[in-house]
Symmetry: C2
C-alpha cells in the first residue's frame, strides 16, 4: 500500500501528515509558517518537513502516491496554483511546480475548508453519508460542500463561501464589503463581540468574573462556561447566537439538503449541549417538514482535518 501526504499550509503553521488510504493519520509534524517570508522559502521548508516526516517513519518518496496541499484561498488544481490567498499573500502561486522542485511526486491543491469537509466525509462525522456540508465557525465561517463523496466547489473552484451568504440585507458590515453576511452574526469572531457587548452592558454577569474584567480574555466558549454557572446574561447571548447560527444552517438545508451538516471550530467542542439546541431551532425554520431533516453533528477530525482531507484529494 502506498502512503499519502497531506499538507495544511496555514497562516500560522505548516502541518504535514502521513496518512493511509482510509484517512488515518500515521505521523505528523509542524513548523511555523513565518508568513512574511518569500513564497519560495515557505515551500522549501514545507518540502523539507515532508521529507523529515517521511524519514521518521522510514518511508521513502517512492512509497508515497502523492502530496495534497490544503491552504486558504481559491485553488486551481488544473494549473496547480493558488489563484489568490489574501492571508498568505499568494497570488497565482505555483505551489505544485514549486514543491516538485524539491520532491518528484504528483501534487494536488485545494482550499483548506474544502479539505476539512473531505476529511469529515472520509474519516469523520460524515463518513457514512454521500452528501455533507461542513461549517467551520472561526474568524469567519468557512465551508465545504461534499456531493456524492467529492468536493463540490463550482466551475471556478470558488464555491462554498457559506459565511458570505447574506442573511440580513443592510445589516452588520462584513469584512468582504457586503452587509449582513452570515459570518458577521454567527462566526466565532461575531460571538466574541456579542459576549463582550453583553459583559459591558451587564457588569453583574459571571462573564466579567471569568475573565477578571479583561475582555481580551473572552473567547467563544466563555459564554458557555458562564451559562453552566447559571449566568442569565450568558443564556440570553447563547440563545441569540444560536438563532443567528440556525438561520444560516436552515438556509443551507433548504438549498442543499445534505445527509449531514457538520459543525467545526472551537465552539463545536460544546458538543451535544450545543447541537441539541441548534437542531431544535433549525427544525422550526426548515421548509420541508414532511421529510427527514439532515443530521447535525460536531466535527470529528479536529486540528488534523485539513491535513487528512488534503491527503485524500487524489482518491475522491
Amino acid at each position: 500500500m502506498k502512503y499519502l501526504v497531506g499538507v495544511d499550509l496555514g497562516v500560522t503553521d505548516i502541518k504535514v501528515g502521513v496518512v493511509d488510504k482510509y484517512g488515518r493519520l500515521i505521523r505528523k509534524d509542524s513548523i511555523p509558517t513565518l508568513k512574511e517570508r518569500t513564497f519560495e522559502a515557505i515551500i522549501s521548508d514545507t518540502a523539507a518537513l515532508i521529507l523529515n516526516v517521511l524519514d521518521s517513519e522510514d518511508i521513502e518518496v517512492k512509497d508515497v502516491k502523492y502530496i495534497g496541499v490544503g491552504t486558504p484561498g481559491i485553488p486551481n488544481n488544473k494549473e496547480g496554483i493558488i489563484v489568490r490567498n489574501y492571508t498568505l499573500n499568494f497570488h497565482n502561486a505555483p505551489i505544485r511546480s514549486e514543491i516538485q522542485k524539491h520532491i518528484n511526486l504528483p501534487v494536488f491543491i485545494e482550499n483548506d475548508a474544502n479539505c476539512a469537509a473531505l476529511a469529515e466525509s472520509v474519516a469523520g462525522a460524515a463518513e457514512d453519508y454521500d452528501h455533507s456540508v461542513t461549517i467551520k465557525l472561526g474568524t469567519g465561517i468557512g465551508g465545504g460542500i461534499i456531493v456524492n463523496n467529492s468536493i463540490y466547489s463550482g466551475f471556478n473552484f470558488a464555491g462554498a463561501e457559506l459565511g458570505h451568504m447574506v442573511v440580513s440585507m443592510s445589516g452588520e458590515k462584513c469584512t468582504c464589503g457586503r452587509k449582513g453576511c452570515w459570518e458577521a452574526y454567527a462566526s466565532a469572531t461575531a460571538l466574541i463581540k456579542q459576549i463582550k457587548e453583553a459583559a459591558q452592558e451587564n457588569p453583574e454577569s459571571i462573564i466579567n468574573k471569568l475573565v477578571d474584567n479583561d475582555y481580551s480574555k473572552i473567547n467563544e466558549r466563555t459564554v458557555f462556561e458562564a451559562a453552566k454557572q447559571k449566568d442569565e446574561v450568558s443564556k440570553v447571548v447563547i440563545q441569540k447566537y444560536l438563532e443567528y447560527l440556525s438561520e444560516g444552517v436552515a438556509n443551507i438545508i433548504n438549498i442543499l439538503q445534505p445527509d449531514v451538516i457538520v459543525i467545526g471550530g472551537e465552539i463545536s467542542k460544546e458538543g451535544d449541549n450545543l447541537i441539541k439546541q441548534l437542531r431544535d431551532l433549525v427544525y422550526e425554520k426548515v421548509y420541508s417538514k414532511e421529510v427527514s431533516m439532515p443530521e447535525i453533528k460536531t466535527a470529528q477530525t479536529g486540528s488534523a482535518s485539513v491535513m487528512i482531507g488534503a491527503a485524500m484529494l487524489g482518491l475522491y
Copy 2:
C-alpha cells in the same frame, strides 16, 4: 430511436409532450387539471392524454422509452410517489403505479422546478455547461440545481428551495411561516406588491394610467412598461427589486458557483434589459472577484420547460 414522454402535471393544466433524446418537443397537448377531482381521475385523464398525443403522431407505446412526470411538491422517485404536494393536495400519491394501471411503461417522478432546471441544462440556456442553477420568479421562487448535468436535490429530494433562503432575518413574513425569505422580496408576487404600493403612494405615476387605476391589472411586467415611458417611480421600484433579486443571486453564487444562473418566469421576458442591470448588481456583491463570475441568462425553454425536463429524467 425511442421517443420520450414528458408530463407537466400542474395546478391549472396537465401538459403532455413527446420529446426526442435531444430534448426537442415533437408534439404536445394539454387539458385542464380540474384539481378538485380525485387523484385517480386526474391520473386516468393524464394517461388518456398521453395515449392521444402518441396516437396523433402515430407513435405506439412500444416505441416509447419511458414517461417522466414533473409536478409540484417533494418527489420520491425510488418509491414512485409524491410525498407531499400542497397545491394539488397529493399526499404519498402513487403516481407511478397509478399511471402504470393505464400504460405499461417505466415512470420517473420529479419536482417541476427541478424538471425546468434539467430542461435548461439539456436543451436551453445552460446546455453548454455542467453546473447550473435555474430560478423561476413566479408566485414564489422555484429553484433547480444541476451538478454535473444531473438534478441535485439532496438526500431527501427536497433541496433547491431557493426561495426559502432567508435574506432578511426578522423581515417580511413568508408563506412558509419564516420571516425574511428571499421569495417574500424577489418573487413575481413580491414585485407586484411593490408596484401596487408605489402606484398608491404616487398617483402621478404612469403605472396608474397603464392599468386605468385598476390595481388588479398590475402584473410583474407593468413596472418595466412604465419605466420605458420614462416613469421615474417605476425606475425606483425596479432598482429596489433588482437589489433584492441580486442579494439572493449573489448568495447562490457564493455558495454554488454554477457555470450559469438561468432566470425564468414572466419577468425574464424583459431579457437583456433586466439581465444587464442584474449582473452589475450581483457583481458588486459576489465574494470572489479574482475568478470569473457565473453567467446570468434568461430561460429558453419557456412554458414547455417542465415537459421537456420530465422527458429527460431517464437520461440524466
